[in-house]
Symmetry: C2
Subunit: 569 residues, 2 copies
């Protein structure tokens, strides 16, 4: 492709949108353009990268036994009402009406449609397992679009749905796709972590998240470098650590006027926050719950929900707190709570003695509180938020906190959707059973940004060859020089037979051409300049900055072997 | 691909939706499934056909110099307000709001976004021409979805936008894409007509429509088989024909009580409808217009609009008619009309003398009306609707009426959008000029139905090999017979190296397998049955019903040469 007749509008000025490096570079290098907040156009180079990623995803889905279909974005409300997600999905669901007043949504995911298709077509266990997928444009009314293609209102996702006869089948399908995701990320040359994660609006009993670690990512990850344990921060488990237990002292009530924060109370009592225990009141599926964590810790609501098996969890409001404790907010404690409150203590708290808590009385705290003696713990669980430095739950190594971009998320859904939507098959024994489902999402357009986020330097993008929009760029330094032009034309004709070549034949200054070549980041560069008179050109590797002069006789062989090497790297 | 592990849910019963044959067959053969009115899922076979068509379209667009990008479906209202189509596009435009209350539409076409991209990136005539396209899912709130993929609410279109320096450049771009469309339709083995057509909501000065002639199509086409003239019926021109002129008789007023229709008046006056002239009153861009056509003819509002250069045309209501004629509806005539009414006579009427019209007085008609003597014609034009039997405007041959499916529509837009949206480039002389635009739509998903509409018979689909989901199907008659199974396995392994093969290895009766193979319509069939014991299989051609026994030694060569033949056909 000759750049003079292509469409690569690189920018001289800095883009205004640059919240993460890849967004700045994809805009500046002419890969994408913003149409509205969270809505982008792929320009030719961006679309070329997207297509390469899409093809890798398609190949690996097919290899894993996935069958490609194409489901619509417009979904009738009725299907989403059956799954109860018409109301439960939340404000991210774009809703609209057609001219007859019928309700539709723009699907952000396709559990409903896939179940609708399967329940109308699959009747017998003999037709299972079935793994169907599509690669399709999705919509999500994001409150805060971010990072360009990372969190967009319109994006392309690959989503696969597995339908199995039983849990064992689901486990096999899940494992197939898990492996396929690993192959995809390896082919994209992306580092990745596989995290234990929350299911969110999709549901399901077990989920894994595929995350590309990078400081600009918005996902918080807890990681153990010793054993490889990795988890979404919100649900990361924590190993056992030595806790200063304290002593069994008598229970005393102290006046703590106008002191509300943990720090204020600790200072007033000349102690440290780790001697306090916070009592946080919640309503979980209609039940009252008091969660106890040490004064210097944060509660993880996700872990609390998982521990008590709650589907919904809301913090209690002031009125409820008064009702349960007899005191206003800020003075809650586990002693003399109303009997119908489930007291869930973090495992750290369960080991402590003689700590300080609210007295359930305005302006008073209790000191010397001892569980068992002064109140009863209903349940001990790991419910505090993990932080860097905490012990690993698997190997007791030191946990680290890093950030990452979630690129994939896979779910064991079980029979949640098939039961709600009455999707049954006839099993070998003649009985009707609900399909056992899994679902598997991969952010195809998001992966463009994820790769760019990993592969760039101060001068621009440096794509791995598996996703680069072209393999090679030829930079003709002086278009007015006949020798240079003929040399470049010849190399272009010759190498275009072997690989995809972009030929910068524009009438621009050498400075602009070199800058643009580095900015757009095609892996191999050939500079055709003055040395063309001596039958030599310069061969450069964008990412490593290797450079050397190569004779015209050798150039094809040298490029081909370099190309092979870069594919392996 | 083994059918036993694929997903081809053919139906035994007849689908309820079957308004045109291709819809019935695409549903029955398991190519598509309905999700809502006008909203479909492509199942694996349907998606395979779609992908083949998409690839042909992409290849030809690239060959014509098109550069592929990918524009979003979510379009901010602001862009459509600039082009004035936010209100002018009509109720087909799906509108929605995001959570912040901002207005968006789901784009049914991308003039606005393409102009937005180009006006921000192209500054100089040196960067022109630019032809950008995408293949993308579009939305249109159709009042009456029809024919499955033919008129759907969600569909895939290829749309290309050309940006040129001047009209000459536009003509060249237009011609390139016109030729590319012809190549595409030829590769899809589709018969087609290129029609003169109306621009509709897209606008522009000159448009051509690509239509596949078929009785089930919803577009009405006027065609001359002698010279090839073809036009959308609404704007088809009509050649000159001999008109019985009549005689110049005195003007007389006759009482015609309670007679309103042309037929009633003609009968009452013992004459034929072709001796009457209808006077139809309109408001065109605020002006009053009376259109005169012979009593047995229909007016074409489109031709009237074109003749008088009107942007809007509404039929006058009863009140306006009374104001202009002094009489109620049904008695209008050209004699003594209010002076500010433009009288446009069809060219046939202009030749007539002594005809009958309304008298502009309730229950009265005039007979013996002579143009020039009794009233003045403001403009003579070809404004009546063409019908079968009319003379061709080019060769005076006999026009025919047929029906067709519009698959493509290309427009010379000129500077309409670039001026409204302030999209300028700097020309060689330093002046700022608006881009001269063209736009070019092709219904990619609709083409799946169009091909199916042309290629089917009473037993099912019979795809041309260029778009068939597989080249070959192997039908294993008896899965329990070792010889048959081993023979089929061997042929499957052998031919899968050369072409795409579907292998019906299901445990179904031979009858079901033969029926399904004919229904899904893969071009080449190999039947592995009892003759496998004699080292023979049956080779069949789906469309022509050719059948012959072929030995196993010869089968590969025979299939390959048949395959080549079918590709040429």
């Amino acid at each position: 492709m000759r750049l003079s007749s292509y469409f690569v509008p690189t920018l001289r000025e800095e883009p205004t949108e640059r919240d993460i490096p890849s967004l700045r570079l994809l805009l500046k290098a002419g890969y994408i353009r913003r149409i509205a907040a969270g809505v982008y156009t792929f320009l030719p180079l961006g679309f070329a990268v997207y297509k390469k990623i899409e093809n890798i995803v398609r190949e690996e889905m097919n290899r894993a036994g996935g069958i490609e279909i194409f489901m619509p974005a417009l979904n009738p409300a009725e299907l989403w009402q059956e799954s109860e997600r018409w109301t439960n999905f939340g404000p991210e669901l774009f809703k609209l009406k057609d001219r007859t007043g019928r309700d539709f949504c723009l699907a952000p995911t396709h559990e409903e449609v896939s179940v609708e298709i399967v329940r109308r077509t699959i009747k017998s266990y003999r037709q299972l397992p079935l793994l169907i997928y599509h690669i399709q444009t999705k919509f999500r009314d994001e409150p805060r679009p971010r990072g360009g293609l990372i969190r967009a209102k319109e994006f392309v996702m690959k989503d696969l749905y597995s339908f199995d006869r039983d849990e064992k089948g689901l486990d096999e399908s899940f494992e197939k796709i898990r492996q396929a995701y690993e192959r995809i990320l390896q082919r994209l040359k992306l580092p990745y972590l596989i995290l234990e994660a929350e299911a969110g609006a999709i549901g399901g009993k077990y989920t894994l998240e595929f995350t590309v670690p990078t400081p600009s990512g918005e996902d918080e990850v807890i990681l153990c470098r010793s054993c490889g344990y990795a988890s979404s921060k919100s649900i990361a488990m924590i190993g056992d650590s030595e806790v200063p237990q304290g002593e069994e002292t008598p229970l005393r009530k102290v006046h703590t006027p106008n002191l509300k924060t943990v720090q204020e109370v600790a200072s007033f009592l000349s102690t440290t926050p780790d001697r306090l225990v916070k009592t946080l009141l919640y309503i979980a599926d209609g039940r009252y719950v008091a969660a106890l964590v040490r004064g210097d810790r944060e509660l993880s609501e996700s872990k609390l929900s998982l521990a008590i098996g709650a589907k919904s969890l809301q913090m209690a409001d002031g009125e409820t707190i008064e009702k349960l404790t007899g005191a206003p907010m800020g003075f809650s404690g586990p002693v003399n709570l109303r009997e119908d409150v489930l007291i869930v203590a973090d495992k750290e708290v369960a080991k402590m003695k003689g700590f300080i808590t609210g007295a359930n009385e305005e302006d008073f705290h209790l000191i010397g509180v001892v569980p068992g003696r002064d109140f009863s713990i209903s349940m001990v669980a790991d419910i505090r938020l993990a932080v860097a430095g905490d012990p690993c739950p698997k190997c007791q190594g030191k946990l680290e906190e890093i950030r990452g971009i979630e690129v994939g998320h896979i779910f064991k859904l079980g029979t949640e959707y098939s039961e709600k939507m009455k999707a049954y098959f006839q099993d070998e024994d003649g009985s009707l059973k609900p399909f056992v489902m899994g679902c598997y999402g991969l952010g195809v357009s998001r992966l463009v940004s994820a790769v760019a986020e990993i592969y760039h330097d101060e001068d621009g993008l440096c794509w791995p060859i598996s996703v680069a929009p072209f393999d090679l760029i030829i930079i003709l330094v002086n278009t007015q020089d006949d020798v240079q032009r003929e040399t470049a034309d010849k190399i272009y004709a010759q190498l275009s037979q072997k690989m995809s070549v972009l030929y910068d034949d524009r009438e621009e200054s050498p400075g602009v051409k070199f800058k643009d070549a580095d900015l757009i980041g095609i892996p191999i560069q050939i500079v055709v300049g003055r040395k063309a008179m001596e039958n030599k050109v310069e061969l450069r590797v964008r990412r490593t900055r290797e450079r050397e002069d190569v004779s015209l006789e050798e150039i094809e062989d040298r490029v081909l072997s370099l190309w092979e090497r870069l594919k392996e790297e």
